[in-house]
Symmetry: D2
Subunit: 354 residues, 4 copies
């Protein structure tokens, strides 16, 4: 681990800073003990304007005053700091993130574009910190002077957190149904005429992402290659009229059915490097098991530990698979901005930023 | 089949008429071509008052004018008509329905109390009209001069309608997640402080009902005994902030995987006795398959065919089970009042009312 | 009045047919006894496609089958029928409606563009049918072979209906606050991220429209000139998370304070030409006074009389003005599509279509 | 002012601690620098149980761990601390608060029961701290060894905060419409079947409270008697589907119309004793004027300054009164628990607790 962080501030930039995910980065990073946002990049339309004017701020209250007066830059490497969080829209992220990586930046991306590349870590610090070893291969094969690390799709993080401790039992297959919050769709995102007093039983590409990203995250790195988890994963993805927090019902079958107390035990004791190193954004316990019969609930539980803890409840036997339960996480924090920031904290603590 | 209904009105009574389900009966029966509500029973507190005053009307607009001036009776057989719909709360239904059955009434009940009794039909007219043969056994064993027939729990009807046509392929196991409307919980029912901007991942007893009632509905009658469907059924039941319409994601495994076109075909061509006899409340097609990628949706599709059709969409292969899809039905119509009325129509058309 | 309509169908066209208001016209006109939609116009992007494909249908269920297979035309007069309903977006309505009026069409428009023109009727058939006399002046001054008649903004219709019967007491001033449904904003309209679990206390231009349109509607025609109602009107307009139905609180001061029973009496007995002539879309009573202490409510009352009746409740003395009450109307029916259709029915019954 | 608080903790008790308002006290007082909850009283049904078991916790996350293990007491003075916050239901508050006041406790009550008593302060610390002088009269006339101080109804606080700075212009009359959050109605409170996708244009007694309480709060104390503000106040109160935050539209007429810049100026510069003394719960600025055209909004602005600041926006001329604007406040914080706590802080800082 990197020597202790001795109070110096690390400058960071945000690509796509004016969009909804960019705003979430701003909010999550406000008051961060290590990282200071000193550079914001957005489309040419916004470039040259103050952040407070360029961003159509959609989150509660106002843009943090520490960034409100930054002048928005175009999405060109130029004078940006080494560490870059990318909140780029996927329609443009491929090119722009590439450009920053080539120019020597460490790109910690929330975009989907590079997630499934075999040499790009799809990182959840509590689960697969070892996947950072892919960076050596990435550097080698791509010839970039910089790097790209990604975090998963918002519902995938939440599911992966719940499944990671269960790997010890040999996960055979998983059937999940999501009830996803509207904030996951950006802004303007979901039309109120579509979701008010309604459920939309479809989110484009979401089921595919949950299925393949989860397999990669939970996979093992062998000889520089990720061996995906060999478990069938089936996702039913739905949008519900909730602002924040993705709720997921999970039925899981194991190689052989463990005792319920053992399942409970691995969930409750789950912990990882972020907790061991007390990374600034790490929740004390990444998984909170809630004993009440009707929890977790998004409005009541999504904000636990600043939105970085995932809540699980209702563990019980499944008449078809082995066990079933409910897992909930904050989609824009643990599922997006907070996920990327925790990734950057791990990367820094590993000494990978110089 | 009974001879054609020649325009005479059949008087019916409603037990529990002032409650939420009772109100739904009133609304659904308004203008019914066969049945005329002439008797309303409720708790002693309401007895003696006009229906319009006794019922705290919670549905749109007003109580139908044809029933608004009826005088509420206590829940005693006495002068009630032969055909009785029961919308009794389960806390009192056991005794009261028994009393009416003993007194010679044909009780068509929406309450859960007698659903799982081995000699009581748990009837969905498109699916298991033959289960009415249990009535002979019921009469024989119970010694009642009347009868009790039940309809399933609201989410169970919707699921059963989707599974019924699939029985031909040999259903091996089913994993479902429900997103249930608040109207399913009666009045006052779910507190707005619990469900606004929220999901509640628990509904008391609902999962057990869905599992066991579905097995009974889809079971075969052999020697006067229902052989429950020998398929594992696992339900995750959730409340979502939607007024009407239960949405259910379904993953199903068969004895052997049929072709997708065959699955589609049996869904789209599903039809039953209510359609053949054109019972007044029968939808022309009990299952509507919606081809759009994001349907069915409760606010847009629950009301199809007066709320009596069930809508299915998104049929596709399941990476874990064989197929998965979404099914939606109107919980207070197809799942409650309309279900009972259709049951009564079948019963009448069978000549079982004299 | 025009001789009785003897069963022949009047062909009508819809400008802007694929948009949200256009869809509402389709839905409202389905099964209309006089008018048959035979022509649908939309942007060039949609022209040439079947209506069912060109329209991204956002209302419940599906586009009516009678129009689903119409081929969408560009917004050029050409072969369109004489009677045209305009659901054009205001950004293009000025030119296109002008072109149709010049080409001899009778344009019954829901757009705001011509509403405040001094020679264009801003028509509410129960209130100001005499304003149709402006058409002579319009024809004279404009030299069009066709005509344009408009209906008011959605919240304005509802308010005007409540104020019209009160004119007899001499309206001095009015303070209103609206709680407006999301369907008033079209599609995609209000972002769910803006309105879920929220109130937006601003709707662009809405307050100005309510103030000036109400004065015109309630004005008197003198010498071919509308003398606007000389009453101060102050509107606070808000968006609330409700799908359909605008609720408005109203405080009103009169020249001198009438008795409450007199106010009630004129509200309850309000009726107009549409009722006298039994126009197809006329509600039996245009104003329903609801005596319950907590009505009207949008979800329960907006659909009364097919959405064409306006509901009023809670009439009581105002400690600052003279009286206060609540009025509710269906914004996309009485406030848009239904308003225009009722206008066309009045126009036809006046013999103004040839 | 009382000498500086030197770090000693003041023990406080909560009457009605298990109810919804009681829970809000618990949450608001967690981590309070002066007050420590050491005693919780509730109904006999709860007495003797741990707080975590007796309270059906309905707020986000869990009951604060500092109080979760307190044993609930019956509502008898006995061993309760001197300072008592009352969250009693109004059905029982009259007797119980009286008993505590007689027994020497300083009762800081959120209940309505004593608010309008002529010798009981209806206190908003920024507005009428001088009303605490009524306590001398209260002591004198009642002969209690303790005291009762009240805070206003939730919507009244918000309105009063907006009107207080405007008193300098001579308030002549005020017309307001509220859009109130569901959390104002306690638990279970508003049924979801009533408020989902709906507006309820009625809240029992609320309009009367807003009218008379506002007049008392803004009144002047003269010779031990509050001279109520001689301004007509008319309130239209509505419930909307929002969890937290009451939004109020306000039209106000003055003795003579001031310049808009002067109105803005007094709003923005409003400050009081809580700010001067930096009381722990005092917001830096009690009124925040938001310049955006569509603010304040409950979901985005109610939590500003821990829910203790009131937000105002859209100040503009009113065509009927003089000015109009929108004001928003957090109903369960500034409008209930936070209001009472700030009252207690003022009382303590005045040296009225011994």
């Amino acid at each position: 681990m990197h020597e202790n962080h001795a109070g110096k501030r690390i400058e960071v930039g945000i690509l796509g800073a004016t969009g909804m995910v960019g705003q979430q980065f701003m909010r999550f990073l406000a008051g961060h003990p290590w990282f200071e946002v000193t550079w914001v990049g957005a489309s040419d339309r916004s470039a040259g304007r103050k952040y407070r004017e360029a961003a159509n701020w959609r989150l509660p209250e106002d843009a943090p005053c520490t960034v409100a007066d930054l002048t928005v830059q175009g999405c060109k490497p130029g004078n940006a700091p080494q560490l870059i969080f990318s909140a780029m829209d996927s329609s443009v992220a491929t090119e722009i993130e590439l450009e920053f990586a080539k120019a020597g930046h460490f790109v910690v991306s929330n975009s989907k574009n590079y997630r499934m590349e075999p040499d790009v870590p799809l990182l959840v610090p509590e689960i697969n910190p070892g996947h950072l070893q892919l960076l050596a291969r990435q550097k080698n094969e791509r010839g970039w002077s910089g790097q790209i690390v990604t975090n998963p799709n918002c519902s995938t993080v939440v599911l992966s957190m719940a499944l990671a401790p269960l790997k010890v039992f040999g996960i055979a297959s998983v059937v999940v149904t999501t009830m996803q919050a509207i904030s996951g769709a950006g802004y303007p995102g979901v039309a109120s005429m579509d979701i008010t007093n309604n459920v939309i039983p479809f989110i484009g590409e979401e089921e595919e992402k949950m299925e393949r990203e989860t397999q990669k995250i939970l996979g093992e790195l062998e000889n520089g290659e990720i061996q995906r988890l060999a478990a069938g994963i089936s996702a039913h993805c739905n949008r519900v009229p909730v602002v924040n927090g993705h709720t997921i019902t999970v039925s899981v079958r194991f190689a052989s059915k463990p005792a319920e107390s053992d399942v409970m035990s691995v969930l409750e004791s789950f912990s990882g490097i972020p907790q061991a190193r007390q990374l600034p954004s790490a929740p004390p316990r990444p998984i909170l098991y809630l004993p009440e019969c009707d929890r977790p609930q998004p409005r009541r539980d999504a904000e636990r530990d600043r939105g970085m803890a995932v809540s699980i409840g209702r563990l019980r036997s499944c008449p078809v698979m082995d066990y079933k339960f409910v897992v909930l996480g904050h989609n824009t924090i643990r599922g997006a901005a907070g996920a990327a920031v925790l990734n950057a904290e791990l990367i820094y603590s590993e000494g990978l930023l110089d």
